[in-house]
Symmetry: C2
Subunit: 456 residues, 2 copies
């Protein structure tokens, strides 16, 4: 096969980014601040310091510093699995017969199986540096919990994961990876926390939700000396750490002399999307370049395409600060037929604000179409993608087919966030022809919006 | 962390090997030939041509050509997942406090999760080039079947996998990956073949064995027009394709200016070991260099350390040619408590001959010690290893600790053949403290040896 550009581009160690990029610094209109649900006022660093590590609070509230140096121990850890390859999807292009050039940044080549490790190691490092004993968190599909377990094991931190009960039961292998890395894993809602007991009492037999697991993890952190809570998405600090994805992508593309036309990322809470697009959005915000930036979300959990831009609770138990974001309402839970992650009810405040400003597009895709794209991709590119990542694959294929129809040689870059080795139950359902699509009704969403807090 | 050598070394595309290396060409005493079980005479190319593709028969019988060019389409496919990284295990060295330098060649960064893909793509390519409709094979732990499914899907070949029944039931996710790549997967022994029906009748309720699945796959190939049988280990052709591992390792070490002292590989049928050591063994055979080469096998299936060097059947149904090899007897099946692969009763003829000549060492390790090494490695190096690969990790750690005790700065290189994402049941058993060790008794082995055919 003729190749003007290598199949895979790895940056040399001396070309890899040594600082994260804080997209908020280049936003003229900043993301709306987190609010204290009691007072309705912006949360202070002190208030947040009960929940998060001090350095992470600083990063969360910093809307001004564009470059934040990556500590040496985090850079060391990154060497285990970074730089990740930027792959030219020659085989997919050939299969589609498209004149488009397709690239993907592959973040799945690590044992946690996704990009989540980029932020997990940062959060674990700062917790250790502060002299803490351990951290608590929640996990849904399990990617974040696995990543955090790996990071905590490395830094010898205690790690307590509240895993949404249905995932805990359906994904025993994810749980086992976390245990192998020494984490304790509790199905949520549990009887270990006040909020868990309350939810179990109100909804006997519930299989849990992400919002509920967040409440439990926060309570477990604030009620134990030497513990803090950490989160794998949504927060600005997470997008900051994930900017490593976009920075490497940008550096590799520059090295290859390639300028993308379209940049595509899947979007749940926004960690991957925000990280992948960060430096490109920076160029766009500074007026240096223009790109189409596309967020792809599940039609069953469509926060950007069908949500409200409003202040909402981040968790079911309402123990977290309020965030202004595109939200489906804090009680929204996607249909049980929804496979994989991308099931959070809201979207990162920074991305929500950028979407509101028209700086990015969004589209929703149905899951059978997503798995069809996943299978097509797996068969030619040799990587079995995670269901989450496959949302971006779906959109990338659709854009490439548009280029084919229009005879355009556009350059498409998408984020391949992870692998689907722990999602074979969903693949089986697709292979057996049993997978169903689901779209929430307008009435369901209206009912959910009615519970939005009256603020802002 | 101070680093004189990069954490990961990737060869550039123009530095990657373009030909496989045939170790047999440098052996003065060649491996014993395969025999026709009917005539007791060496099998001819024509006889083998009923079972294997023509080009692969040529490779199987070629004891003389040192370099065999890799066809362009195979090189293209290799670009998906090769070159694989040579990793300096800085974190493991630090955890062990050893003066030894440890490197590992990581073959797990592809969806099949192991090195098996190196030969699968070659075998699928030659089948396609010969105009065949499809191939049949067997799989035990599932790595080979997965790899072959990926390769066949890429070349649009039909792929029929006989999966040892107990694995089929215990590893539904492996099965599902194969189905996603379009393969048909049949639990073995099945009722689809003569030999399967015979074995089912003789042993009602049997959960199968590798030897039995091989017999079924061979029968299915020879009884269907346009099909051939392919095998993931043991054969010389497989070791030839796997030499890509060793060639890349050698090239990377030379680029770094490093000469290894000890080279360690896990050994089942010999595909990984034979591939990893090939060019180093070549130097040794030509008298250009000396290395300690160590084969590590399970104490529960110890063909090199406790087997006989004799002609034996390669399969339970006795449909395959006879091979001279270190063998535990063709009826030998490791204890059900044995987790993971490395469960074949014999060892590649080429490796057996080299072992007999004293060109390599062998050691057997027990599985709880193997999983302890796996966990230690996973926690510091960030990769959850396959149980098979962890045999090599165990030996590498033991060698590094010896270096520490002796104050030696030796360089240890081992093959990390794959990841353990589909082996979490075994990890769970280890995490729960329920894993048992097992060593066959001398009496068991004697009984098995008594059934060796009286040949050669």
């Amino acid at each position: 096969m003729k190749q003007d550009i290598p199949y895979k581009t790895y940056l040399e160690e001396n070309e890899t980014p040594k600082a994260w990029y804080n997209m908020r610094a280049d936003m003229k209109k900043k993301p709306a601040p987190l609010l204290n649900p009691g007072t309705g006022k912006p949360v202070t660093a002190e208030e947040l310091g009960h929940v998060f590590c001090d350095e992470l609070v600083k990063q969360e509230l910093d809307n001004d510093t564009p470059q934040i140096p990556i500590p040496g121990e985090i850079l060391d850890f990154y060497r285990m699995f970074r730089p990740s390859p930027l792959v030219r999807a020659y085989f997919l292009e050939r299969a589609l017969g498209t004149p488009a050039k397709i690239f993907y940044k592959f973040e799945g080549n690590n044992t946690s199986g996704s990009h989540k490790l980029n932020s997990a190691v940062a959060q674990a490092y700062y917790a250790k540096a502060q002299g803490l004993k351990g951290v608590t968190t929640e996990t849904g599909a399990g990617q974040w919990g696995t990543a955090l377990s790996m990071a905590c094991s490395f830094f010898k931190l205690d790690c307590k994961v509240f895993m949404v009960k249905c995932s805990y039961e359906q994904k025993p292998f994810r749980r086992e990876v976390m245990r192998t890395y020494g984490a304790s894993v509790t199905p949520s809602p549990s009887m270990e926390t006040e909020v868990g007991r309350r939810i179990n009492a109100a909804h006997p037999g519930t299989t849990g939700s992400l919002g509920c697991a967040i409440s439990e993890a926060v309570e477990a952190a604030v009620s134990h000396e030497g513990y803090r809570y950490v989160l794998g998405s949504v927060l600005s600090q997470v997008l900051l750490h994930q900017s490593i994805i976009g920075l490497e992508t940008q550096a590799a593309l520059r090295k290859l002399g390639v300028k993308p036309d379209v940049i595509i990322g899947c979007a749940g809470g926004g960690s991957n999307l925000g990280g992948l697009i960060a430096p490109f959005m920076g160029e766009k915000l500074r007026g240096e370049a223009d790109y189409r930036i596309v967020a792809v979300e599940p039609a069953s959990c469509p926060s950007l395409t069908r949500g409200r831009y409003a202040y909402d609770f981040c968790d079911t138990g309402r123990v977290c600060p309020l965030a202004k974001m595109y939200t489906l309402g804090h009680d929204f839970i996607p249909s049980p037929s929804h496979a994989g992650g991308l099931r959070y009810h809201g979207m990162s405040s920074a991305l929500s604000e950028l979407y509101d400003q028209g700086m990015l597009e969004a589209r929703a895709v149905e899951q059978t179409a997503v798995f069809a794209a996943a299978e097509q991709f797996a068969r030619v590119e040799g990587i079995l993608p995670a269901p989450e990542s496959s949302h971006a694959i779906r959109a990338a294929i659709d854009e490439a087919l548009r280029c084919k129809a229009e005879g355009r040689e556009e350059t498409i870059v998408f984020g391949l966030t992870g692998t689907g080795y722990f999602d074979l139950t969903a693949y089986q359902s697709y292979n057996d022809g049993k997978m169903q699509d689901y779209v929430p009704s307008d009435a369901d969403l209206e009912e959910s919006f009615a519970k939005l807090p009256k603020i802002g």
